[in-house]
Structure formats: structure tokens, C-alpha cells
Symmetry: none
Subunit: 257 residues, 2 copies
């Protein structure tokens, strides 16, 4: 393991602590406010909070693992011999990425059949994408990383297609007041996800050693905050907007589960 500068160590250290606080705070906000939305949207808001709760747990573990890997004493960084456990990220994504797609489908309030089939297909594709990415992440050579990265991008392309084409007509049938927000949530999901493959490919750009480590850790951290806390808050805003519209236009429908 290459040595990191004290500045790089502190930057990543503080970023991890910041992300834990952000995820935990978003969780509490979403769960405390779930009674403010109509019953039909409570599952979407609950799952959004679940995603940030799972991320908060993993950022606590990542933070501790980072601390166990290095010691900063008298302004000098030394490695302790304990490897930084990057697998926490993949373990986290295996749980949270399918749930993120499920919250996006749930907030649209489709028919029960459509909800079941979409969540099953998108959830499976998301899990497959994460599983196929991992062998590349731990590979030490570029070709292996490239092969698994390519395989992992097949379900990714399917998810993007499903979000923009398959769910396109469902977005058009959302109430006018919420349509813009639903489009924004979909775009934010896509944009933040597009960030992961870029970080994944950092070693291809010749970024190695401590600069690569710092860039990868900060990159994944920012992407996680946008994709989980950012999208979670949007899901809540969509739920509030749709609850208001439905209560006004169709009170009986608004109260239905």
C-alpha cells in the first residue's frame, strides 16, 4: 500500500465522517416526516430512509477501516498493515442500488402488477450490475478491470433504457405538478450513477498510488451523497406534491393504500 500525504488522509477522513452524518440525518428526516405524505407513498419514503440508513452504517465501517489502515502521528502518516476494506462499498450497493430503483418505481404509484414486474426486473439488473463490477474493482491489472467493468455495464445500459423508455409513459401519466420532479429524480439517479463508472476507470487514466486512492474515495463519496440522500429528498418532495394534488382532486383515492 502506497503512502498517502497527511493532507490526503485528513481529506478522506473528514469526507467519510461528513457522509455518515449526512446519511444519518437524511434517514431521520425521512422517517420522521413519513406521516406527512398519503398512505400510498409511505413505503417509498420508508425505503428512501432505509437506503440512507444502510449507507450510514457502511460509512461508519468505512471510516473505522480507514482509521485502522493508517496512523497520523507527529504529522507523519504510517500504514498499519491492516488493509482498507473497500468491499464495504460493494456490500452497501448490493443492498441499496436495488432499493433506490424500487423507491423510484413506488413513488410513481403504478398498478400493483406493473409495480411488481418493474421492481423485480430493475432490482435484479441492479444486483447483477454490482456483482459483475466487484471482480474488476479488486483486480490488480487493467485488462481484468476492463472486462468486468464492461460486463457490469450491460445491466447498467438495460436499467437506463428501462428508466427512460420503459418508464417514459408512466412519467407522462404523473400529475402535472409532480412530473418535473419525477423527471428530475430520474435524471439525478442517472447522472449520479454515471459518476461511478468514471471513478471505476480512474486507474485507466494513469492515476495510481495515493492520488488514485484519494480521488476514488472522494468520487464514490460524492456520488453516494447525491444518489442516496439527494434522490431520497426528491422522492419525499414528489410524495408531498402528489399527496396534495390527490387529496384535492380525488380524496378517496388519496386515502387508499
Amino acid at each position: 500500500m502506497d503512502t498517502i500525504t497527511p493532507f490526503q488522509f485528513s481529506l478522506v477522513y473528514n469526507a467519510f465522517s461528513f457522509t455518515f452524518a449526512t446519511m444519518a440525518a437524511t434517514t431521520l428526516f425521512l422517517w420522521l416526516c413519513r406521516s406527512q405524505v398519503a398512505p400510498a407513498y409511505r413505503t417509498a419514503v420508508t425505503i428512501s430512509g432505509l437506503v440512507t440508513a444502510i449507507a450510514a452504517y457502511h460509512y461508519l465501517r468505512i471510516f473505522e477501516s480507514w482509521n485502522a489502515s493508517y496512523t497520523l502521528q507527529n504529522g507523519v502518516i504510517a500504514t498499519t498493515g491492516f488493509a482498507f476494506n473497500d468491499a464495504y462499498r460493494y456490500v452497501d450497493w448490493l443492498l441499496t442500488v436495488p432499493l433506490l430503483l424500487i423507491e423510484l418505481v413506488l413513488v410513481m404509484r403504478l398498478s400493483p402488477e406493473e409495480t411488481s414486474s418493474k421492481t423485480l426486473r430493475l432490482g435484479t439488473a441492479a444486483a447483477l450490475m454490482i456483482i459483475l463490477g466487484y471482480p474488476g474493482e479488486i483486480a490488480t491489472d487493467i485488462p481484468t478491470r476492463a472486462i468486468w467493468g464492461t460486463l457490469s455495464s450491460i445491466p447498467f445500459v438495460y436499467i437506463v433504457w428501462e428508466l427512460f423508455s420503459g418508464l417514459g409513459s408512466s412519467v407522462a401519466s404523473q400529475p402535472a405538478a409532480a412530473q418535473g420532479l419525477v423527471r428530475k429524480a430520474r435524471l439525478l439517479t442517472f447522472a449520479s450513477w454515471g459518476f461511478y463508472p468514471i471513478v471505476y476507470m480512474a486507474p485507466f487514466a494513469g492515476l495510481t498510488g495515493s492520488t488514485a486512492t484519494t480521488t476514488i474515495q472522494l468520487g464514490y463519496t460524492i456520488a453516494d451523497i447525491v444518489a442516496k440522500a439527494g434522490v431520497g429528498i426528491l422522492i419525499y418532495m414528489i410524495s408531498v406534491r402528489k399527496s396534495q394534488v390527490e387529496k384535492h382532486d380525488a380524496p378517496a383515492y388519496a386515502e387508499r393504500y
Copy 2:
């Protein structure tokens, strides 16, 4: 204790952390969503969350015990001399397996007499199955393992018979919309439980040393996720489906505890 490779150590380590996160997340989901089902189903959903909460606690302990048994420093694994405490699994099952059968009976909403007698009989058989399995699990020789394994399979066969024959007519009397899901929950319980005896018999297949340890730990972990988190989510889905049907067809019955 035989030595494990760094890859095997990390695999089991990450699997334990993943399982803790999965169990804790499922618990929070079930408890937050219990208000979404009719009063009659809230006990089943609460107990489903209890099962995953107990499992989350034990996986945290198992994770810590695994860490205390080995150290991975500078890419080399060393045993610390502290034995990995596998008994946590049996302690967990002694509590969770009877509760799993109770949640399955409760979600069927049988008459109070039937509910009492079924939960008592199935709960006792489940506890007996776990107690009889343990002496075999800690046995160092194959014959002792085989004897206790056989004794443990007597209550197991009784449970399977009760689930498929004794509860068969109760399944047929479930509302049509929920029947498929109830059958799925019963099958998932049976299929995931069928996995435990296979893992139990791993030493018979000549699997020894670190490969046996890794296989057994991963096998039990996957079976636990399916049997507890998977069945728990199914119980919730059955409760939602039945609440909707009853609210529509028999509103007074739906509100009854």
C-alpha cells in the same frame, strides 16, 4: 484451528457485515410499515421484525467473534488463539425458528383455538429440532454428528408434515389474492430450511479445513437471509394483500383485532 486464506477471511467477514445490515434494514422496514396493515396482521409483522432483529444482534456478535479469531495484517492471516464462537447460531435459531413458524401461522388468521394449538406444537417441535442438532454440530467425529443429526430430523419431518398437510386446508381457505403468496412463504420456509441439513452434512462429504469453514459459514448465512429476511418480507406482502381484500369485502372483519 486450520488457517484460512486472506481471500476466504475477507469473504466471510464481508458476508457477516452484509447480513447484519440486511437483517437490521429488514427489521426497520417491517416495524415502520406495520401501521400499513390491518390490526389483525400487526402481530405477524411485528414478530417477523423481531426475528430479523434477533438475527441482526447475533450477526454482529458472529462478526466480532470472527474478527477476534483471526488477524489479517500485511496480507497474512494469523489465528489469535480465540476460538470462533459458532454457538451464536444455535442460540439464535432457538429463538428465531419457533418465531418464524409462529409468524407463518399468525398471518393465516385462523380461529384463536387453532392458532394456539398450531403455534404451541410447531414452536415446540422447532425448539426440539435445534436442541437435538447442537451436540452433533460440536462433535468432532462423524458418527456422533450423524446420530444427533438424525434425531434432529425427526421434529423437522413433523414440521414439514404439519406445514404441508396440517395447514393445507387452512391455506386453501385463504383469500384467492393471497393464496399464491402464502404457498410461496411456506415453500420458501421449507426450501431455506432444507439448506441447513446440507450444510450440517458438509463434513460427511469430506470437506474439511478452511474450505469447510468458509462453505459452512457462507451456506448458513445465505440460508439465514432467505429464511428470515426473505420470509419476513413475504409475510408483510401477504398481510398487505389480505388487509386490502378484507377492507374491501368485509370492512368490519378487517378492523377486528
